[in-house]
């Protein structure tokens, strides 16, 4: 076969190519990874089905984490959404739920993401812009008004103040009559990728890791259906990493969290089943599918072999996917619908558990209702019309996809070993290692586009003017309305109790005990997000980022 292949390459492929496209360079993925013109059984010599793939729901889970996959249940269609006031976002959630979305995903505005109240001078111009404004439990009560929290699972994209917003959610559920044991959802709560890529940070890495392990410990005991972290490659990729860097840094982050939790003395099989992941679905179709499959295999090996986890649920890499924001273009924005559809399809073929599809207008603003509807319909068309859900892991066994999966696994493991040698991810971040790798990849890609080595339709090829599209506008009057509620809360709450609860929290932070019960005490007394964050900042200090470009 080897000989036949060489003959075909020399006599047929190369000859034809020289005639039709003389001087053509070898193909590469969007990450710059070399792809061969043809894959054959020769690429899978010594490929052991049981060792590399197994059956769906069986170790090492390359073909999927559930035995039934989408035959049993479709992925959760979860559209990330939030803007303006709690009232406005509550209306959007009800709209999405009425149109077939099956889980909620909260986008907070930037001051909330940074643990600041809306009346902080730095919040000027930002209120309600990138998400919904939440300062106190009172805002959170309005946000989920009329939405039964025992039945709807909610994902919250929140990082440095994750423990505080989670406490607010638990408190709202209690007020609706549902104990913490029955609610389900996810907090992102992944600070490592913040230092690496998204740059939403408050405290230094050490205290951040401590707070995260507090949520693992509290969740395992009191909120058993909650994913206490969503270990995220999404933002690493958006910041410009390659697919392999996204895979490697995300899984090494996961390993770091496990190591810190074990150091606390937690039992791996108690917290590991609640670890979840979040990946990007970018443009290069097969590279993305291989990335998702490789991720499951690497994680299963790490959990079982590196950490000795016994509970099969600890071995599962469950993940959410969002299509790539950075791949969307301002030029000819309707083309973005097609990009999103292809990316979403790769996530489904890669076996995702939940999916957010971006809207066509997101290079300009938060999505309009029309745009978000098309994005949701894209998922429904994949689910109900395309037929791709009928057979589990339909690309399994493809010479190309299996070879690519193996190669990406190997390349990611090289990075993981390198970071192990540096002393772990916190050390690597302090050395600026992942940050620099990403900055270099981002620059390489930008130059490749400018040299037209990579084609972006409508940007460096097939250019054409387009009519402006209609966008969602955030009315400035929301600011007044939102701030009025905060003033009202501050007037009516028991100030002495708030002071006491904040004092208790500070003492607990100094004593290094689990902070979740104290944070719950603060939010129940209507302490503001900013007050709680400031209290912790006094004990934990602040992170200063080294600047390098």
């Amino acid at each position: 076969m080897k000989q036949k292949l060489q003959q075909w390459k020399k006599n047929r492929y190369d000859v034809s190519l020289d005639n039709s496209c003389p001087g053509k360079k070898p193909a590469t993925t969007i990450s710059g990874k070399r792809i061969d013109e043809l894959y054959t059984p020769l690429d899978l010599e010594n490929f052991d089905y049981d060792e590399k793939l197994g059956f769906p729901g069986e170790y090492p889970f390359t073909r999927g984490i559930h035995p039934t996959m989408y035959q049993g249940r479709l992925w959760t269609m979860r559209q990330f959404s939030g803007f303006g006031t709690a009232e406005q976002t509550n209306r959007r959630y009800k709209y999405l739920l009425n149109h077939g979305t099956t889980g909620l995903s909260v986008a907070f505005h930037l001051p909330t993401l940074m643990g600041m109240d809306s009346d902080n001078p730095l919040a000027k111009g930002e209120i309600g812009k990138c998400g919904v404004a939440i300062d106190t439990l009172a805002d959170m009560e309005v946000l989920f008004e009329g939405i039964p929290l025992d039945r709807i699972s909610t994902s919250m994209t929140i990082n440095p103040p994750a423990a505080i917003l989670w406490a607010m959610y638990i408190a709202v559920a209690e007020k609706q009559g549902f104990p913490a044991e029955v609610i389900s959802g996810t907090i992102q709560n992944d600070m490592l990728k913040e230092y690496i890529a998204q740059k939403t940070f408050i405290f230094p890495p050490g205290p951040s890791m401590k707070l995260i392990v507090d949520t693992f410990e509290f969740g395992a005991k009191k909120v058993p259906r909650w994913n206490t972290i969503s270990i995220s490659g999404y933002h690493i990729r958006e910041a410009g990493s390659t697919a392999v860097q996204e895979l490697a840094f995300t899984l090494r982050d996961g390993i770091e969290y496990v190591e810190w939790a074990l150091k606390r003395g937690l039992d791996i099989d108690e917290f590991a089943p609640r670890l979840s992941f979040f990946f990007n679905a970018h443009n290069d179709f097969f590279e993305e599918i291989a990335k998702f499959r490789a991720a499951r295999r690497i994680w299963a090996h790490a959990m079982k072999e590196r950490f000795g986890a016994k509970n099969p649920r600890s071995w599962l890499l469950r993940f959410h996917t969002q299509t790539s924001g950075v791949s969307l273009m301002a030029q000819q924005p309707y083309n973005n619908v097609i990009r999103v559809a292809l990316q979403a399809l790769s996530a489904v073929l890669g076996g995702t558990q939940s999916l957010h599809t971006n809207s066509l207008d997101e290079t300009y603003a938060l999505p309009s209702e029309d745009a978000v509807t098309i994005a949701l319909r894209t998922q429904q068309i994949i689910a109900h019309e395309s037929g791709v859900t009928n057979s589990i892991d339909p690309l399994g066994g493809s010479y190309f996809v299996e070879k690519l999966t193996c190669e990406m696994e190997e390349e990611a493991l090289d990075y993981i070993r390198k970071i192990d040698d540096m002393g772990g991810m916190v050390k690597a971040i302090e050395m600026g290692f992942p940050q620099k790798e990403i900055t270099n990849s981002a620059y390489w890609y930008q130059m490749a586009v400018e040299k037209k080595e990579k084609i972006v339709v409508g940007v460096n090829a097939f250019e054409k003017d387009h009519e402006p599209i209609s966008l969602l506008e955030i009315d400035e009057s929301v600011v007044k309305h939102h701030l009025a509620r905060q003033i009202d809360v501050k007037k009516t709450r028991n100030s002495a109790q708030v002071m006491q609860k904040l004092h208790d929290l500070k003492k607990a932070a100094e004593d290094e005990v689990n902070l979740m019960p104290f944070i719950l005490g603060c939010v129940r007394s209507y302490a503001t997000l900013g007050e709680i964050t400031e209290t912790l900042r006094e004990v934990f200090g602040e992170y200063e980022e080294p600047i390098d470009f």
Binding site: C130, T200, F201, A239, T439, Q446, G458, I547, F549
Partner: protein, 133 residues
Amino acid sequence: MTDKKIRILVAKPGLDGHDRGAKVISRALRDAGFEVIYTGLRRTPEEIVNAAIQEDADVIGLSILSGAHNVLFPELMRLLEQKGIEDIRVIAGGIIPEKDIPGLKKIGIAEIFLPGSSTKDIVQWILDNVPGG
């Protein structure tokens, strides 16, 4: 070109941490031969104006993705005017709706580069529009 290199302050107002664009552009401008100072994240208009004065910048390049441009850019232009600074050109890029552009140009933002802009175009704009370029 004169002996003195054009000095560019790349600044990141707004509370978001999306620094991919700011960093790619900083490096491209440096590779094009300019002197580049990057402020880092979450700078207030006041901090940016002060840094531009201190660094003797010829150009301020604002990168913003948070949606706060209509509040933060006028504040920055007001501070420049208040301090009597007329020779610094201010340009911007990021997530900015097209319909906001005329208003921002009216208050003195010289050019706005949207997603998909080439770093070459930005370099060329600076060479064409900044004295000494």
